[in-house]
């Protein structure tokens, strides 16, 4: 299965490298222009320099204004920064140790641990292989099914993700503070299954329902034709939190606030 990644992740991976290549190629462009018309080369160099400065300042200004005016922008920046910081400060030692152990003793729990560490690094292709082997060796480990489901979810394999998360929930009800149940519900919603509402309601009832849970419940309710229930769920998702939310949960709260504006409600 080919690993999938979002547009943002792909841009982050390819963007800086493309920029370096563009800078490397720029003199060649100017030499070619100079060979045909020296004045044109000078004009292009000057205008491009001015345009680059203008674009950089405009981008900075737009970014600042977006952060001030449009609430998800700030939450988006916070989530991006948190993800970047997590990836930069990821400890290499546990993965090296776990891979070393796995080389000597192959067990389901070791495969699950290696898979978990690969998933944290967003190396979903590698993680999938280890989770598949882990559940093959021992299909009774709830955490392996749950993590397997999360990786499949990230790969947009909704049906397989729903099954894996359902298995985790069945083996250990309330596994990972309800995360398996939540992703089970969401995957079923993305498959167009109307039963997703019940699963997401169950999650909200049993685990309190944070902004993400409530937002996903609201989307499922809209799909089943219950706008009032959806508005209530959105209001719950957008409500000011009692404690500081994580960057990920804060992003879902910001999305809920924007959706509420569209529906004429307020958070």
């Amino acid at each position: 299965m080919a690993p999938r990644s979002g547009v943002g992740t792909r841009l982050l991976n390819v963007g800086p490298l493309a920029l370096v290549w563009a800078f490397a190629a720029w003199p060649i462009v100017l030499w070619l222009l100079h060979a045909s018309d020296p004045e044109l080369a000078v004009a292009v160099a000057q205008h491009t320099g001015a345009a680059a400065w203008f674009a950089a300042w405009s981008l900075a200004l737009v970014g600042i204004v977006a952060c001030l005016v449009f609430p998800p922008a700030l939450a988006f920046v916070r989530r991006g920064t948190a993800r970047m910081w997590t990836s930069l400060t990821m400890d290499q030692a546990p993965l090296v140790k776990a891979l070393g152990e796995l080389r000597h003793f192959e067990t389901a729990s070791r495969h699950a641990e290696v898979g978990r560490l690969f998933r944290l690094r967003r190396q979903h292709g590698q993680a999938l292989l280890h989770f598949a082997r882990a559940v093959e060796l021992d299909p009774t480990i709830a955490s392996a099914w749950h993590q397997f489901g999360l990786v499949l979810f990230a790969q947009h394999e909704w049906r397989a993700a729903a099954t894996a998360c359902a298995n985790a929930e069945q083996l250990d009800p309330g596994h990972a503070f309800g995360d398996a149940l939540l992703h089970h519900g969401r995957a079923r919603f993305l498959l167009g299954d109307s039963g997703a509402v019940d699963v997401l309601r169950e999650h909200a009832r049993r685990h309190g329902g944070g902004p993400r849970s409530q937002l996903w419940l609201a989307e499922a309710l809209v799909a089943t034709g219950d706008p009032d229930g959806a508005r209530t769920a959105l209001q719950a998702a957008a409500a000011p939190p009692a404690v500081r939310l994580s960057a990920e949960e804060n992003w879902f709260r910001a999305l809920a606030r924007v959706r509420l504006w569209g529906k004429g409600g307020s958070a």
């Binding site: 991976n13 490298l17 370096v20 290549w21 800078f23 490397a24 190629a25 720029w26 003199p27 060649i28 100017l30 030499w31 100079h34 018309d37 020296p38 004045e39 080369a41 000078v42 004009a43 160099a45 000057q46 930069l88 400060t89 990821m90 400890d91 290499q92 030692a93």
Partner: protein, 269 residues
């Protein structure tokens, strides 16, 4: 070949560079109060972007062994003697020499790109900043994650030293901080991307290729800066036809900064 490299790896590069600094200081007449000191610096290879573009690319490296005065020499000797031996022991002499040369050229390229093309620059500080950048990169590479080194006092002080030196570079008008930053970035990138053991990953190979292409491209641009006024003027002098010369002169006029154009236009001053 491996045996030869092993033999070369025993050469004490830091000591060799120190000897080169001091010898060139005497040869250029730094301590003799010689009136010809400036001319000798020019002759021995101070970095003037205009001269580099005029067929003297060896100045990109040569300037890193010359110094503008006893204080300048003393500061650079002290820094080299503080960082050099430890870094050389870690990297090996051949890699250390390659790092010194690349960082010196990197600093010079930054000067050629950004600085006034007529302004001369001397000193090994670009290369020394490159060594500091290399030390930071080595620390980042050796920890459990790239910022793990911040838990330790020594590497934190190294960052502080770099910051203080950069601030001083901005504060003192005759210091070329452009060369410092160019050297720092080059030294860091060379060590982070190139000077590491083990089989490189596909992503690392891509980055190595891209940065090498950028380095070569900027190097070639410093020698043929086809949109810079001084190079266009020289090209016009060498033009084969009157029409080509006119076109190059017009391009040179366009490329000349507006303030300079007015100054050149005043007759008799």
């Amino acid at each position: 070949m491996r045996d030869v490299l092993r033999e070369v790896d025993d050469i004490p590069v830091t000591l060799t560079v120190v000897i080169a600094y001091v010898t060139l200081a005497f040869v250029t007449g730094m301590f003799a109060g010689d009136e010809q000191f400036g001319e000798r610096l020019a002759e021995f290879g101070w970095l003037v972007p205009m001269a580099v573009a005029d067929g003297e690319p060896w100045r990109l490296l040569a300037h890193a062994f010359l110094h503008g005065g006893p204080l300048h020499l003393a500061f650079n000797l002290m820094t080299l003697w503080t960082i050099g031996p430890a870094l050389e022991r870690s990297l090996g002499s051949v890699r250390f020499a390659a790092l010194y040369a690349t960082a010196a050229i990197g600093g010079a390229l930054a000067v050629c790109l950004i600085y006034d093309p007529r302004q001369p620059v001397v000193g090994g500080s670009g290369a020394l900043f490159g060594m500091m950048g290399a030390a930071v990169a080595m620390n980042m590479r050796s920890g459990r994650h790239v910022f793990a080194f911040l838990d330790f006092e020594g590497p934190r002080r190294l960052l502080g030293t770099i910051a203080v030196n950069l601030v001083l570079g901005f504060a003192i008008p005759f210091v070329s901080n452009t060369a410092h930053i160019g050297g720092l970035v080059t030294g860091f990138a060379v060590t982070f991307l190139w000077l590491r053991a083990g089989t490189p990953s596909a992503a690392l190979r891509q980055w190595r290729l891209a940065t090498a292409a950028l380095f070569v491209s900027v190097l070639a641009w410093s020698v043929w800066p086809v949109t810079r006024s001084d190079w266009l003027h020289r090209a016009a002098e060498r033009a084969e036809s009157a029409q080509q010369a006119r076109s190059l002169l017009e391009a040179a006029r366009r490329a000349t900064p507006r303030d300079n154009r007015l100054e050149l236009g005043r007759p008799g001053r």
